[in-house]
Symmetry: C2
Subunit: 210 residues, 2 copies
DNA sequence: AAACTGTACGACCGATCGGTTTGTTTGTCG
DNA sequence: CGACAAACAAACCGATCGGTCGTACAGTTT
């Protein structure tokens, strides 16, 4: 096992930079974030950043991947501890709302911010964000399909429709939570998905009353 | 009737600038839009812009008001031609989706973009966007209340909950429509609201089948 | 005609942008 | 030890940022 101290230091710096970049990007935007600000916030020099990423776009793409990891760890992973089926879907929704409410990121959601920022800007960043959105939707749809297989959702349920509404409710929650009193966001977001799941779930004991 | 030619010219320039600013802001962002680019696009000088707005922030606030007018004219007004009640709610949803699908603005929706851009940036722009979001929600809620009064929605319907889901479905539609094939946006957005309205509407003839 | 006002321009300002160049420190090797 | 490389930093580059200034012209008022 060879642990090159230089490479280790580089890796440490890299994740520290990307963690900060993810957070700052939810405030100033993925493009609005400037390398100078980022360097100053971290106490490193601007040229130090170019030692790791050859351009701003490369750093943006790396930031996206880091945000994906954070989402997987802090939102998806906790939900995967719930048993497969309708409870896991519900756990994912709650986990997501908790992530927003805990203000892990000042802007709430890295992807919601970035996707709206780049929805009319062609390029690699736009394309990657689109890929990850499709991936996220497919994941939610898969959880829905699993719930049907487990007999916890009626077989007639359109999982694509269910996933659409699931995602829409969560997206709206993060937007409202940053602009309006949070009482006008999370309670409605909980109820919307809970109503939808309970209506399609034959076993009412699997989900909370409210 | 005094029509000062100078004021008329100024007003003409002002609306031309703001119309362009609204459209450009959905691409580059309300903040990402630079005065130099805006001036060049319009064929005027940068300093000419400062004759009308003393700072960029003033122009941003004016751009927001112009976007509000556009939304009122092109989305709300057509829906108001539908009879009060559940049909008007449905018309508003369709009108909104049509507005997105027609690509009136390259970024889809001025407000969705701006609200995510400014959700973590305190200041007058943030505050104004929050006000307009609250106003929009209150408007949708009022349409829901009217529908109950008209007996076209069950009295037990929670109009705030209904308005939340109505808005969430529309918001998600504009995001998906810019990043994914539009078949994975509009059909789901239609169905989501239609299902919700039909479920709460005692008279099934008021709404389309699909 | 003179006085005045609103609109618009070109030139310019300091600051900051993304990016480059040159050089130094830090750690791994033969 | 010396050769080498990865990880940084300082100084600097042209371009662009938001904003100011003095000026010119068009149109209104007296």
């Amino acid at each position: 096992m060879t642990t090159d101290g230089r490479l280790a230091r580089g890796a440490r710096t890299r994740t520290a930079v990307l963690d900060t970049a993810v957070a700052l990007a939810t405030e100033a935007g993925l493009d609005g974030l400037s390398l100078g600000q980022l360097a100053e916030t971290l106490g490193v020099s601007k040229s130090g950043l170019f030692a790791h990423w050859r351009s701003k776009e490369e750093l943006q793409l790396a930031t996206i991947e880091r945000a994906r990891e954070q989402w997987a760890e802090q939102v998806v992973a906790p939900a995967m501890r719930a048993p497969r089926g309708v409870r896991r879907l519900w756990a994912l929704h709650v986990s997501r709302l908790d992530f927003y409410a805990a203000a892990v990121l000042p802007g709430g959601c890295f992807f919601a911010n970035a996707e709206f920022e780049y929805n009319a800007r062609p390029g690699p960043v736009h394309d990657r964000l689109a890929e990850l959105l499709a991936e996220w939707i497919a994941f939610v749809e898969r959880l829905g399909t699993e719930a049907i297989t487990a007999g916890e959702l009626a077989a007639e349920v359109d999982v694509r429709q269910l996933a659409y509404e699931f995602e829409a409710v969560g997206l709206s929650a993060v937007m409202r939570s940053r602009l309006l009193p949070s009482e006008s966001a999370y309670p409605f977001a909980r109820r919307a998905v809970l109503d939808r799941l309970r209506a399609a779930c034959p076993d009412p004991t699997l989900l909370p009353e409210d």
